[in-house]
């Protein structure tokens, strides 16, 4: 059930005092739990829990023809799927706009930050390149799937092992992994989202809070440089509010990065 008007009013009222229903500060995340290697078949996989929100991210690799505009570069395909088991409001069938947006936002964050060294993923120019598939599945939706998926994606990519490739027969050997990891650069991009309710900004909303947000800004950044940005929902932001968002993002970024550092 979506948050009713009266509960929404209470959340806004309480937020005016910088307080939230679960006792967190506006810029405080819920407990972050990370479970590594949950899938045997995938090249890299991780389960991320943010409070009651649960997301699994898998990385799988294949060999494909390159796109005509980048004959010497590997491909990256990111898909997110919100499963009906994660929330009563998700139905089976075609992906909705929410899941498409999650996939695209995360794809852009990873791609534009230069995290993956695509040139090293080329096997034979113009003919064969590696393709990285990132698959995101929601297991339980209690808000902020976007950030949980972003955190999971980075960790899964960092820990993924390349599959074996038979160069003589030009065939991919499934289920066999080398010790090599995916060619990555040093910068680790994390896309984190700041949500706006009334004139206040919060991070990591629960479902109750996410229902009543007026705007959201997802910023993909590494070590202080922004690589991607996405604004969602209908409300607008002033210039002052935007700088507040950027400050908050930096603070939260450092906080989350500290927590996930041991998995990177």
């Amino acid at each position: 059930m979506e948050t009713p008007t009266i509960t929404a009013n209470r959340i806004r009222q309480y937020l005016l005092e910088d307080k939230r229903f679960d006792g967190r500060d506006p810029d405080e995340f819920r407990d972050l739990e990370i479970e590594m290697d949950i899938s045997k078949k995938a090249e890299g996989s991780v389960k991320v829990k943010l409070g009651k929100t649960e997301v699994i991210v898998g990385v799988k690799m294949g060999v494909m023809e390159p796109y005509p505009d980048s004959p010497d570069k590997g491909n990256l395909i990111t898909t997110a799927e919100l499963l009906p088991l994660s929330s009563p409001r998700v139905e089976r069938g075609r992906p909705g706009i929410e899941s498409i947006e999650i996939g695209r936002v995360i794809d852009r964050c990873i791609r534009e930050s230069g995290f993956i060294d695509f040139e090293k993923l080329c096997i034979k120019e113009g003919e064969k390149v590696w393709t990285i598939f990132i698959d995101i599945y929601s297991i339980n939706d209690d808000g902020n799937i976007l950030d949980a998926a972003a955190i999971g994606t980075v960790i899964a990519l960092k820990n993924a092992k390349m599959p074996k490739y038979d160069e003589k027969e030009e065939k991919l050997l499934h289920d066999e992994h080398t010790d090599k990891s995916i060619p990555l650069t040093k910068e680790i991009p994390l896309s984190l989202t700041i949500y706006k309710i009334g004139d206040k900004f919060i991070v990591d909303p629960t479902r109750e809070e996410e229902d009543i947000i007026e705007a959201r800004v997802t910023i993909g950044s590494y070590e202080g440089s922004i690589s991607s940005i996405q604004k969602g929902e209908e409300s607008s932001l002033t210039i002052d509010q935007m700088s507040e968002v950027l400050d908050m993002n930096e603070k939260v970024w450092n906080n989350i990065f500290k927590q996930i550092k041991k998995h990177l």
């Binding site: 059930m1 979506e2 009713p4 008007t5 009266i6 929404a8 209470r10």
Partner: protein, 269 residues
């Protein structure tokens, strides 16, 4: 109270001369469980107290629901059940302008309803009675509808205890939605925590005492302590002064004796 045993659907609970109650079925001489829950044997009757599952609307139930849609002759209401519920214009105890339904209730509003009937098309609701109607303030929380009897307690003892300790007005719908209204949001959240505590511990006996204990632990310092405790652990003085402030506040609401004693001691000092 008879013996209680956890059963799963399909399990044979008893054989022979017993009567099948709620959640059970008689097949030949055997009584078989139809739901997951606790089998309760009292005298000859065997019934199941369900531990999980969705809410099944019943005639006469008082439920809380949220308006989802306005139609030409009424409101479509989400009562968190598989069936859709409908409140007809004729079931509102006042004059309603047909072109202005949102005057009475708009999308997103919540209200307390009574189920007038359940048929093939869905659930029919009414607000033609006292204590029913639109809710204008407070918070709504969701609990498992099977835990509703535990939250209310024997003859309303549990809900009375929570009301007294938090000073909030609480209405529990049979569908598991609970409306909490208090003069302070902190109190409402305390009541919410208490209700969630009850639903989590619903299986233990002597729950009322357990909840009383929980209130003793959580109430006096609830508003400030959660944040200040971690910060001012070292500075005892700051803590003491805060405590006295709190107990002055709580004295007005005549809280526990402990606090009063502490307050008196400090006054003497």
């Amino acid at each position: 109270m008879g013996k209680r045993k956890v059963v799963v659907p399909g399990e044979v609970i008893a054989e022979g001369d017993k009567l099948p109650g709620e959640g059970t079925k008689k097949k030949g001489k055997q009584i078989i469980a139809m739901r997951y829950g606790l089998a309760d044997e009292s005298a000859k009757l065997i019934k199941i107290i369900p531990l999980s599952g969705v809410y099944h609307p019943r005639r006469g139930n008082m439920v809380i629901g949220k308006v989802d849609e306005l139609t030409f002759n009424g409101w479509r209401v989400d009562i968190d059940a598989a069936e859709s519920a409908f409140l007809s214009l004729t079931e509102v105890p006042r004059f309603v302008n047909k072109n202005n339904l949102e005057e009475v209730m708009d999308i997103g509003d919540v209200a307390v309803f009574k189920i007038q009937g359940v048929n093939k098309r869905g659930v029919d609701l009414t607000i033609k009675s006292r204590s029913l109607g639109k809710i204008d303030e407070g918070i709504i929380i969701k609990i498992n509808s099977n835990k509703v009897p535990r939250v209310i307690g024997k003859e309303g003892s549990m809900i009375k205890l929570i009301k007294e300790n938090t000073g909030c007005n609480i209405t529990v719908g049979q569908n598991g939605l609970v409306w909490i209204k208090g003069d302070k949001i902190d109190n409402e959240l305390l009541a919410k925590k208490a209700i969630i505590f009850v639903t989590k511990k619903s299986f233990i006996s002597g729950l009322t005492e357990e909840v009383e204990k929980w209130f003793e632990e959580n109430k006096p310092s609830q508003t400030k302590a959660s944040k200040t405790e971690t910060k001012t652990k070292s500075s005892e003085k700051a803590k003491k002064s805060e405590k006295s402030e709190e107990s002055k506040e709580s004295e007005k609401k005549n809280e526990e004796d402990n606090d009063k004693k502490e307050n008196k001691k400090e006054k003497k000092k």
